[in-house]
C-alpha cells in the first residue's frame, strides 16, 4: 500500500512538475471568519504539498494541495484544535506531510544537531584556550629540570 502510494505520488509529481507556481489559495476557499482563516493559513504553511518539490500547500496550486487546504478548513470548522487538525492529516498522509518533523527517536539527531554542535564547540573552545592561558605554567621538560638542578647545585656551593 505504502509503495503504491509512493509510486502514485511520484507519477503525479511528474505530471505536475510543469504547473505554474503561483495562485495557491483560491478566493472561494477562504473561511468567512478571519481568525479561523488565519489559523488555517498557519497550519497550511506547515504542511507539505505532496506532489510538489519542497512547497507547502499554502504556496502550491496543485489540485492535491487545494484538496488538503479544504480538508484543513473543514477540520477547523468541525472545531478541531490545531494539533487535532495536524493529527488528522498525518493519520491520512503520513509524517512526510509535516514540514517540521515531530520530535521523535528517528528525528532526534536532526533536532539536537544545533544544540550538540553549539555546546560541543563551546567545550572545544574552552579546552583549546585553557592550556594556552596556562602556557607559562607548563611542566618543565627533563632537560630543563636537569639544567635547573645544575644551576641550583652550583649556587649551593
Amino acid at each position: 500500500m505504502r509503495k503504491l502510494l509512493t509510486a502514485s505520488v511520484l507519477a503525479i509529481w511528474a505530471i505536475f512538475l510543469a504547473m505554474p507556481l503561483a495562485n495557491a489559495v483560491q478566493p472561494g476557499e477562504i473561511l468567512p471568519d478571519p481568525a479561523l482563516e488565519k489559523r488555517a493559513r498557519t497550519i497550511s504553511a506547515e504542511l507539505r504539498c505532496l506532489v510538489c518539490q519542497n512547497q507547502s500547500i499554502d504556496d502550491s496550486d496543485a489540485p492535491l494541495a487545494g484538496d488538503l487546504r479544504r480538508l484543513v478548513r473543514e477540520r477547523i470548522m468541525a472545531h478541531d484544535n490545531d494539533a487535532q487538525v495536524l493529527d488528522y492529516i498525518v493519520a491520512r498522509y503520513g509524517e512526510f506531510v509535516l514540514l517540521k518533523p515531530r520530535f521523535e527517536v528517528s528525528t532526534l539527531l536532526l533536532w539536537l544537531t544545533p544544540i550538540l554542535v553549539l555546546f560541543g564547540g563551546i567545550v572545544l573552545v574552552i579546552r583549546a584556550t585553557k592550556p594556552s592561558l596556562n602556557a607559562a605554567g607548563a611542566p618543565l621538560s627533563e632537560n630543563e629540570k636537569a639544567k635547573l638542578e645544575e644551576i641550583l647545585a652550583s649556587k649551593d656551593q
Binding site: 505554474p20 504556496d59 517540521k100 528525528t107 536532526l110 544545533p114 564547540g121 563551546i122 584556550t129
Partner: protein, 659 residues
C-alpha cells in the same frame, strides 16, 4: 567543427591539468625551480583551453546547432539571443563546464597575481587547484559531456524552461559559481600549507582576498536568486529553505566564518589551525552543494538510484577531497604552533563567538538538508524538513550573533573593555529603543516580537556607523581632523562598515516583510477596487497579448493613493510555446515603504478573475542590504594592504620597529 574543437580543447585541458598537478608538486618537494615554474603557464593554458571549450559550446547555442545533443535538448531557435547564450549554463552539462571554467579562472588568477607568494607555496597551491580541475574535467568528459552529437539532427530544439528565461536568473549562476567555486582557492591554500607544514600570518593575508572575492560573488549570487524567486514565482516569497538554496547558503555561512577567522590569524596569529580546518570545510560544503544540486538526489532518491553514475562520481570527488583534506589536517595540524593568547572578552573572543554561531548555523542547515535523504536511505522512513524547521532552529542562532556583531569591532585585541564598548554603543541602544516604540505605535498587527526584531536590525546598522565614527573620532576631534582620519582610514574599515550595515538592513527587511505583510485574495470583476497597503487598486480588465515566444493574458490595474494616480500594474499569465509551460508575471510597484505586488489568477466560476494583492513592507531592504554587503566586499578588496602584490611593497617601505 567548432564543437569538435571545443571537445578537443576540453580533453587537452584535462591533460594540462594532470601535468599541473604532478610537475609543480614534485618540483616543490625537490626544490626544483624550473619544475615549480611549470605551474604558471599550465594554469593559464588550462584556463584558456576551458574558455575555448566554453566558447565553442556557446557558439553552438547562438547558432542553434541542433546536431549537438545538449543544444537540442535545452535550446530553441526562437529564443531571444541573450537566453540562447545563458542557455549554455541552464542545464547540467553546460553548468558543469561553467564550474570548471571558473575553477580554472581562479587558478589562472593566482598564477598571474600571486607574485608575492613564496615559490614552493605557489607551486603547491596551483597543483592542488589543478587536482580539483582534473576531478571535475573527468566528471564532465565521462558523465556529462556537453559536446555529444546527435544524428540525425532535429529541426528544432526542446527549449529552455520558461521560468528560467529571465535576466536575473540568466546571470545568477555565473555569480553563484564564482562564489562557491572560488572557495576552492582557500582550500588549495590550506592543503598547500599543510603539505608545507608551515603556516603564519602571511598565509592568512594571501588567502583573505581570494576568500573575500568568492564571498562577495556568493552574496550577490544568492541575493539574485532570491530576487528572482520573489518576482517570478508569483507569491512574493524570497527564501524557501529549498535544498538548492541551502546548497549555496551553507558555503556562504562557512565562508563568512572563514573571513572572520582569517582576520584573527592575520592580525594576531591566533586560530591558525582552526582557520585551516575552516578553509577545508568551506570548500567541502561547496562540493556538497554541487553534489546535492547535480547528482539528482534532490528530485528523488529513486531517480538517483536509477542513474547513479553522476551522483556516485560527485560523491567520490566529495569524499576524496573532503576526506583527503581532513586526513592531511589530522596528520599535520599537531605540528603547527598555536598562536597568540587572548582573554575571552576581546576582539579575538568575539570573532570566536562569530565562528561558533556561524558554524553551528551551517551544520544545522546541512543536517536539515540531508536528514530526509539519509533517513530514507537508512530506514525507508520518509520525512520532510522544511521552512518551519529552519526558521525555528536557524533563527535563534542568529539572534546572539546579531547582538554581538556591533560589540566585537569595539573591543581591543587581546583584552577588551566590555563596559567601554557598551558605553560607545549607547547611541545604538537608543536607536533600537526608538525603533521598538515607533514600530508598536505604527503597526498594531503582527507578532509582538517583530518590533524587537526590527530594532535588532537597526541596532546593527547603528553599531556599524558607531564603529566607523569611533575610528575617525567623530565628536571628539575637529572637523578637519575627522575628515583627515576619514580619508586615511583603510578601505577595509569601510568594507566592514558597509558589510555590517548591509546585514542590519537585511534583518530589518526580513522581519518587517515577514511580520507585516498584507495579503488580499479575492475574485475581482472589471471596475472593482481593493485597498492594499495605503493604495487603491482598481481592476480594469484582461487582454490577450503575444510575446516573442509566448502568448499571455495581461490584466490591467490602476493604482491610486489618496485619490491621485500612482501607476498602472499589468500582471500577466503567460503560456510559452516551447516547452508549453505557463508562468505568472507579477505586477510590482516598488517604493521605499514597500512593494505593492499584484498577481492575476484564473477566471472564476462566478465571473471575474482570482486576484492576489500584497503589500510587502520594506522588502527591498533585503536585496539592498545584500548589495551593500557586496559593495563592502569590493571596497575591502580594493584596500592596498589586501591587494595581491601590494603587501611586499608596503613592507619594504616601512621601517622595521625595534623589538
Amino acid at each position: 567543427m567548432i564543437v569538435e574543437l571545443g571537445h578537443f580543447a576540453l580533453i587537452l585541458a584535462l591533460l594540462v591539468a594532470v601535468v599541473q598537478v604532478v610537475v609543480p608538486m614534485f618540483g616543490a618537494a625537490v626544490r626544483d625551480e624550473r619544475m615549480m615554474r611549470v605551474a604558471e603557464p599550465a594554469a593559464l593554458s588550462q584556463f584558456l583551453l576551458i574558455a575555448l571549450a566554453f566558447l565553442a559550446l556557446m557558439h553552438a547555442y547562438v547558432t542553434s546547432d541542433f546536431s549537438v545533443l545538449n543544444v537540442a535538448e535545452n535550446s530553441h531557435s526562437t529564443k531571444p539571443l541573450i537566453y540562447k547564450m545563458a542557455g549554455v549554463w541552464g542545464n547540467h552539462e553546460g553548468s558543469m563546464l561553467l564550474w570548471v571554467l571558473i575553477l580554472a579562472l581562479f587558478g589562472a588568477a593566482v598564477a598571474v597575481f600571486g607574485n608575492n607568494l613564496p615559490p614552493t607555496l605557489k607551486a603547491r597551491v596551483l597543483s592542488v587547484q589543478a587536482s580539483i580541475a582534473v576531478a571535475f574535467l573527468l566528471f564532465s568528459l565521462l558523465t556529462s559531456n556537453p559536446f555529444l552529437r546527435l544524428d540525425p539532427a532535429p529541426s528544432d530544439g526542446r527549449g529552455l524552461n520558461p521560468i528560467l528565461q529571465d535576466p536575473a536568473l540568466a546571470f545568477h549562476p555565473p555569480f553563484l559559481y564564482t562564489g562557491y567555486v572560488g572557495f576552492s582557492i582557500a582550500f588549495s591554500f590550506a592543503i598547500a600549507a599543510l603539505i608545507e607544514g608551515r603556516i603564519d600570518a602571511a598565509w592568512a593575508r594571501w588567502v583573505r582576498p581570494w576568500t573575500l572575492a568568492a564571498w562577495m560573488f556568493l552574496t550577490i549570487g544568492i541575493a539574485m536568486g532570491s530576487w528572482w524567486a520573489y518576482y517570478e514565482l508569483g507569491w512574493g516569497g524570497w527564501w524557501f529553505w529549498d535544498p538548492v538554496e541551502n546548497a549555496s547558503f551553507m558555503p556562504w555561512l562557512a565562508g563568512t566564518a572563514l573571513l572572520h577567522s582569517a582576520l584573527v590569524m592575520e592580525k594576531r596569529e591566533a586560530l591558525k589551525i582552526w582557520t585551516v580546518l575552516l578553509a577545508i570545510l568551506t570548500f567541502s560544503l561547496s562540493l556538497m552543494g554541487t553534489f546535492i544540486v547535480r547528482s539528482g538526489v534532490l528530485t528523488s532518491v529513486h531517480s538517483f538510484a536509477v542513474d547513479p553514475a553522476r551522483g556516485v562520481f560527485i560523491l567520490a570527488i566529495l569524499v576524496l577531497f573532503t576526506g583527503g583534506g581532513l586526513a592531511l589536517f589530522a596528520l599535520r595540524a599537531k605540528d603547527m604552533q598555536a598562536g597568540g593568547l587572548f582573554q575571552p572578552i576581546s576582539r579575538e573572543g568575539s570573532l570566536v563567538l562569530n565562528n561558533l554561531l556561524l558554524v553551528t548555523a551551517a551544520a544545522t542547515v546541512l543536517v536539515g538538508t540531508l536528514y530526509p535523504m539519509a533517513l530514507e536511505g537508512l530506514t525507508g522512513e520518509k520525512i520532510s524538513v522544511g521552512p518551519p524547521f529552519f526558521n525555528m532552529t536557524f533563527g535563534p542562532l542568529m539572534i546572539p550573533l546579531l547582538i554581538a556583531l556591533p560589540v566585537g569591532p569595539l573591543l581591543a585585541w587581546k583584552r577588551g573593555d566590555f563596559l567601554g564598548a557598551m558605553q560607545r554603543l549607547s547611541f545604538a541602544f537608543l536607536a533600537a529603543l526608538v525603533t521598538i516604540v515607533a514600530a508598536f505605535a505604527v503597526e498594531h498587527r503582527g507578532p509582538w516580537l517583530a518590533p524587537f526584531g526590527i530594532a535588532l536590525g537597526v541596532y546593527v546598522m547603528a553599531g556599524a556607523i558607531i564603529e566607523w565614527a569611533n575610528r575617525v573620532k567623530v565628536g571628539s576631534a575637529s572637523f578637519e581632523e575627522v575628515a583627515r582620519r576619514a580619508t586615511n582610514l583603510p578601505r577595509s574599515a569601510y568594507g566592514t562598515l558597509f558589510a555590517h550595515f548591509g546585514i542590519g538592513m537585511l534583518v530589518v527587511g526580513i522581519i518587517a516583510t515577514s511580520a507585516y505583510r498584507e495579503e488580499h485574495i479575492l475574485a475581482m470583476k472589471p471596475g472593482e477596487k481593493v485597498a492594499v497597503g495605503g493604495f487603491e487598486v482598481t481592476f480594469t480588465g484582461v487582454e490577450r497579448g503575444r510575446g516573442p515566444n509566448y502568448t499571455e493574458d495581461i490584466a490591467d490595474f490602476a493604482v491610486t493613493r489618496d485619490g491621485s494616480p500612482v501607476t498602472r500594474l499589468q500582471p500577466a499569465k503567460r503560456l510559452y510555446d516551447a516547452p508549453p509551460q505557463p508562468t505568472t508575471e507579477a505586477g510590482i510597484h516598488a517604493s521605499w515603504r514597500g512593494d505593492l505586488y499584484v498577481v492575476i489568477g484564473d477566471a472564476q466560476p462566478g465571473g471575474g478573475y482570482a486576484v492576489r494583492a500584497y503589500f510587502n513592507p520594506l522588502v527591498r531592504f533585503i536585496w539592498l542590504g545584500a548589495l551593500i554587503m557586496f559593495l563592502g566586499g569590493g571596497i575591502s578588496l580594493s584596500d592596498r594592504r589586501l591587494r595581491i602584490g601590494a603587501p611586499s611593497r608596503t613592507r619594504q617601505a616601512l621601517p622595521v620597529p625595534a623589538e
